[in-house]
């Protein structure tokens, strides 16, 4: 199958994607430097500082990318399940073997450096999902296959959330819903999910009695416009009842939540009074930093809100604040657009694959990137809940950078062999 005339590892590699990747990584590094800039250690390669460490992470990431391109593409299809199993075991083990850092049991530590196996679960799960769905005999419209797919996604989620208590890392797996949708998951599921989310939100914002009245009214209208046979009436009645019980259920669950969880929901929905010194502090400070950047920003290294620690976690989850503050609306837009260009390019690349495995894997990469982008930037500008997940290529941290690099470069490797059909 291999075209023996082209043995170069870079043969047929998508250089545009690599270019965007390198651009984002460098921009990220520059922003980490600005976010934790320290006049006493102004050299960007000073490895006692986070920007120096990030340089090491970047260098190793490039090395990993190279290794991935060297490894034969059939390795990823052949060992997909094995890789999935390996990382699942690692994630199961880390709470017991790893060292506790800030109450979190998700790290393996080696001196100054640490590795979070949960980050690597993403590409592993993506491989497994691609492997499963690319099976010729699999039709996702069969609900049993849907369930298996959801297990591949759900098990890592549960492990990471329950055993490691890493909500951010766990919730990312929701992103694979996009892959499933592309592979044939009924749009009705997504619509139902979407409606359910709206119902949940409404249940918390609007008096439940009004909601019951509205649901009732909608049911009556539905009855007037459909053929009034027993089946339709039954469906309408069930939908109405389910909706009402969801509303009631949401309210009840909310009432029984821990105060700090309630507060997070309140902050996002703008419910009640939010104390900007406590629960609302992070988001408010993030908004101040970004908002104060203005149209063109304060200039590189001229930010005050991030550099002087007003914004918490300004180098990791809130790295976008530095972008917003120092580069302003222009810079923020450029970053969002560049990230979207990469994601959309991945979608197009996925679509050009002859191999379903490569396509499914590609969609997975795009979905994960998109999910990170949406939640991370969304939380800094008050449009998404505060969930601690990194901004791809920008947030400080080796595990996430390695994880995104691996995700991307496996796909680039697969893409370079897009004319083959891999299983």
């Amino acid at each position: 199958m291999r075209q023996s005339t082209n043995n170069s590892i870079f043969y047929n590699v998508d250089w545009i994607t690599i270019l965007i990747y390198v651009l984002l990584v460098i921009m990220g590094w520059m922003n980490i430097y600005a976010a934790v800039y320290n006049e006493e250690h102004y050299i960007i390669t000073d490895i006692s500082q986070k920007y120096g460490k990030q340089m090491i992470w970047i260098a190793t990431a490039f090395l990993i990318a190279l290794i991935i391109l060297i490894i034969d593409e059939s390795f990823y299809t052949a060992f997909a399940y094995f890789i999935f199993g390996f990382f699942l075991v690692l994630n199961l083990a880390v709470p017991f073997l790893g060292r506790e850092v800030k109450g979190s049991r998700s790290w393996f530590r080696f001196g100054d450096f640490g590795i979070q196996p949960a980050e690597f679960m993403k590409f592993a799960a993506n491989l497994a999902l691609a492997k499963f769905l690319s099976n010729q005999h699999i039709k996702i419209s069969d609900y049993r296959n849907t369930i298996i797919s959801l297990i591949i996604i759900g098990v890592p989620m549960v492990v990471i959330k329950v055993l490691q208590d890493e909500t951010g890392l766990a919730i990312v797996f929701v992103a694979f819903i996009i892959t499933l949708y592309r592979e044939g998951l009924s749009i009705n599921y997504l619509l139902l999910g979407f409606l359910a989310v709206i119902l949940f939100v409404m249940a918390l914002l609007v008096n439940n009695m009004y909601l019951f009245a509205i649901i009732g009214a909608l049911c009556v209208i539905a009855v007037l416009f459909v053929k009034r046979n027993a089946k339709n009436l039954f469906i309408i009645a069930v939908v109405g009842l389910v909706a009402c019980s969801m509303v009631k259920g949401t309210s009840t669950v909310y009432e029984h939540m821990e105060p700090h969880q309630k507060v997070r929901i309140d902050v996002l929905l703008g419910r009640g009074t939010v104390d900007l010194k406590k629960e609302g502090y992070n988001v408010n400070q993030a908004k101040i930093a970004i908002g104060s950047g203005g149209f063109a920003g304060k200039g590189y290294l001229q930010g005050t809100q991030t550099k002087y620690d007003f914004v918490p976690e300004q180098d990791t989850d809130f790295i976008f604040c530095t972008v917003g503050e120092e580069w302003g609306f222009l810079g923020s837009s450029v970053v969002i657009i560049l990230q979207l260009v990469l994601i959309i390019r991945l979608v197009f690349m996925a679509e050009r694959q002859r191999s379903p495995f490569s396509r499914i894997y590609g969609y997975g990469v795009a979905s994960v990137f998109f999910f990170h982008l949406t939640i991370n930037i969304g939380m800094t500008i008050g449009l998404a809940p505060v969930i601690g997940i990194p901004l791809p290529f920008f947030s400080y941290g080796g595990s996430s950078l390695w994880s995104f690099t691996i995700l991307l470069f496996i796909f680039l490797k697969l893409d370079s062999h897009r004319l083959q059909i891999l299983r």
């Binding site: 101040i288 005050t304 002087y308 837009s333 949406t374």
Partner: protein, 619 residues
């Protein structure tokens, strides 16, 4: 399969939609909504006021009267005070926990507030500051603001210089330049020349981090403004003369003002009792202030030289003579009788025994009450006016052109107007048309409702010395070394009285010269310097007469004119005269030829009973 691949459009659509929503949101919070920019500035910037150096004050010869000493105020912004180690903090400041809580309470309660910076501890010494500064960063919400305190090396002219104090709410509301706790001139020339002395505040923008630690100046200081130092003032005061005069006046209640008639410059302006201006500086100020307030007899805070109104008494007879001569109802040879009082009104106003009748020179020399009552009557009943009111108005206008009953317009703070009663006033007291010259006859001898300040008194002497004109008396000679500052222009304008005929003045001056040659001031001659004087007593309804003396020297080209009044000291030649004489000699000769007189004046104590040495002098 074909249908499924179409789903990519929906997926890409969602991606782009989210992207657009985010960019729109960013546009809103970054470009449209300004509140975040304000919030950022409020928390990351600290605006530090740079206080300018207040201008120094010098005497006419360049001797330093007022300079500055550094002091440091410990400031607090209560809302920023967090996680304070109170015990540590108290130890550093050397205060108890109770004191700390009291001070914090004061900083939080109205008119202060948690969101408003206020002074926690006032005026720390440079030493206290040094030990504090190193460790202050640990206490969030506290910082040190450097200020300057006024110092007075010579301890003189307290009233003239005035003092500075903190701006209160009234001031900060009126003038936004001042912030709570800023210092500004409250009295004296500190007040009148406040804008010159204060300079201009500067502003530095410092960046701070979340722990309130300073992180350097914003944008390398391109938005900072520098403080502009206040300009120094050169006063017209002769520090040596002022100091000498204050010594002579000690233990006496009264005031002395000496003016250079040729320029209107005030050479000395003394209020007695006075106080050491250093007392009203720094942390001891309030204590000292109430201590000075307690002295109700001497009332040292009362600035008599411009704020006390005394009946001019005999001094006014000089003006009466000028008006009589000017109006043509009097000549130097006019003689009037005296029967130990004014005969037409049965001996009222009363007079002391002396030869009678006398001509004008004799009347000035003896200060005859009867004589000047006649003159007053002849002026008011002057046929050419046909009407008492017109004549009175004319008399009053002339008197006021000598700066009586009207402010001199000097640059001294808080000047009293004094009083020359108006027609309206007498109409109210006596009824319209029911008063005439004899009703108000004691105006002619400077009594009745008349009132003038010691400054007006001295200015009056200047006018006579100049024969009809004066320059507005003033205390500042140069601003920032520049004598031609536009603020001083108004002191270079000659003001003429309504009597400009020098011959008229010569008659009066001759009479005053006679007083020194062989009259009431004969015992106070200065060798080699013939001068003019007029002794007087001002009747005081509350007690013993005030001792009054006016003089100028030398007769030709006068260089110094003095008006002095000592309360309840009796005849003018007893206390007021000798002091004025010594002052003139000191100023003109630089040495004293009558140490006996000097000793008596220095030792004389008219405040503390029992120590007074009564002296017999010729009247």
């Amino acid at each position: 399969m074909n249908q499924l691949s179409d789903r990519k459009y929906f997926i890409i659509g969602i991606f782009i939609l989210i992207g657009l929503i985010y960019i729109a949101r960013l546009f809103y919070i970054q470009v449209i909504d300004d509140t975040y920019k304000l919030d950022a500035r409020n928390q990351a910037f600290r605006y530090k006021t740079e206080y300018p150096i207040r201008g120094y004050i010098y005497d006419r010869k360049g001797k330093l009267l007022v300079y500055n000493e550094a002091a440091y105020d410990l400031m607090v912004l209560p809302k920023d005070v967090k996680d304070l180690d109170t015990a540590d903090f108290c130890e550093l400041l050397g205060i108890t926990k109770e004191q700390f809580l009291k001070k914090m309470k004061k900083a939080v309660q109205a008119p202060n507030s948690p969101r408003r910076e206020s002074i926690f501890e006032k005026q720390l010494s440079p030493r206290e500051y040094a030990s504090l500064q190193e460790r202050l960063y640990r206490f969030k919400g506290f910082w040190v603001q450097s200020r300057t305190l006024r110092k007075y090396p010579k301890k003189i002219a307290a009233h003239m210089l005035g003092y500075i104090g903190e701006a209160d709410k009234n001031i900060t509301e009126k003038d936004p330049y001042y912030k709570d706790g800023d210092y500004l001139g409250i009295s004296g020339i500190e007040k009148t020349y406040e804008k010159v002395l204060r300079g201009k505040k500067g502003m530095r923008i410092m960046m701070v981090d979340v722990h309130n630690r300073e992180k350097g100046s914003y944008m390398n200081g391109i938005y900072d403004t520098m403080a502009v130092s206040g300009k120094p003032l050169t006063t017209t005061i002769d520090a040596d003369l002022q100091e000498y005069g204050e010594k002579l006046m000690q233990n006496k209640i009264g005031s002395l003002v000496a003016i250079d008639p040729q320029t209107g410059e005030i050479l000395a302006i003394i209020t007695s009792p006075t106080y050491d201006p250093n007392l009203l500086v720094g942390r001891a100020r309030n204590k000292n202030f109430s201590m000075l307030l307690k002295d109700t007899i001497g009332n040292p805070l009362f600035n008599r030289s411009t704020m006390a109104s005394y009946p001019p008494g005999s001094t006014f007879k000089l003006v009466m003579a000028l008006i009589g001569l000017h109006e043509g109802v009097l000549t130097a040879d006019t003689r009037y009788p005296c029967a130990r009082g004014y005969p037409p009104l049965g001996g009222r106003p009363k007079c002391h025994p002396h030869a009678s009748p006398m001509d004008l020179h004799g009347a000035i020399g003896t200060s005859c009450n009867s004589y000047f009552s006649y003159v007053f009557k002849s002026v008011i009943d002057d046929k050419k006016y046909h009407d008492t009111y017109k004549a009175y108005q004319n008399w009053r206008d002339i008197a006021m052109s000598f700066c009586l009953g009207t402010k001199t317009g000097s640059d001294l703070a808080n000047e009293l107007r004094g009083n020359v009663p108006s027609i309206k006033y007498y109409d109210k007291v006596f009824g319209k048309g029911s008063w005439k010259a004899s009703t108000v006859i004691s105006l002619g001898i400077g009594q009745a409702e008349m009132g003038i300040t010691p400054l007006q008194n001295a200015n009056l002497v200047s006018i006579i010395a100049n024969k009809g004109y004066y320059y507005t008396p003033h205390i500042v000679k140069a601003i920032g070394g520049n004598e031609n500052d536009t603020l001083l222009d108004r002191f270079k304008v000659k003001h003429y009285t309504k009597i400009t005929d020098t011959a008229v003045y010569n008659d009066v001056i001759r009479g005053m010269a006679k007083a020194v040659e062989g009259g009431t001031a004969a015992g106070l001659k200065i060798e080699g310097i013939p001068y003019c004087a007029k002794t007087g007593t001002a009747q005081n309804p509350h007690g013993k007469d005030h001792s009054v003396f006016v003089c100028f020297a030398p007769i030709d080209k006068p260089k110094i004119a003095i008006g002095i009044l000592i309360e309840n000291a009796g005849f003018g030649s007893t206390w007021a005269g000798p002091i004025a004489r010594l002052m003139m000699e000191k100023y003109l000769k630089g040495e004293i030829t009558r140490p006996d007189l000097e000793k008596r004046m220095l030792e004389g104590d008219l405040i503390h009973k029992g120590k007074t040495t009564e002296e017999k002098t010729t009247h």
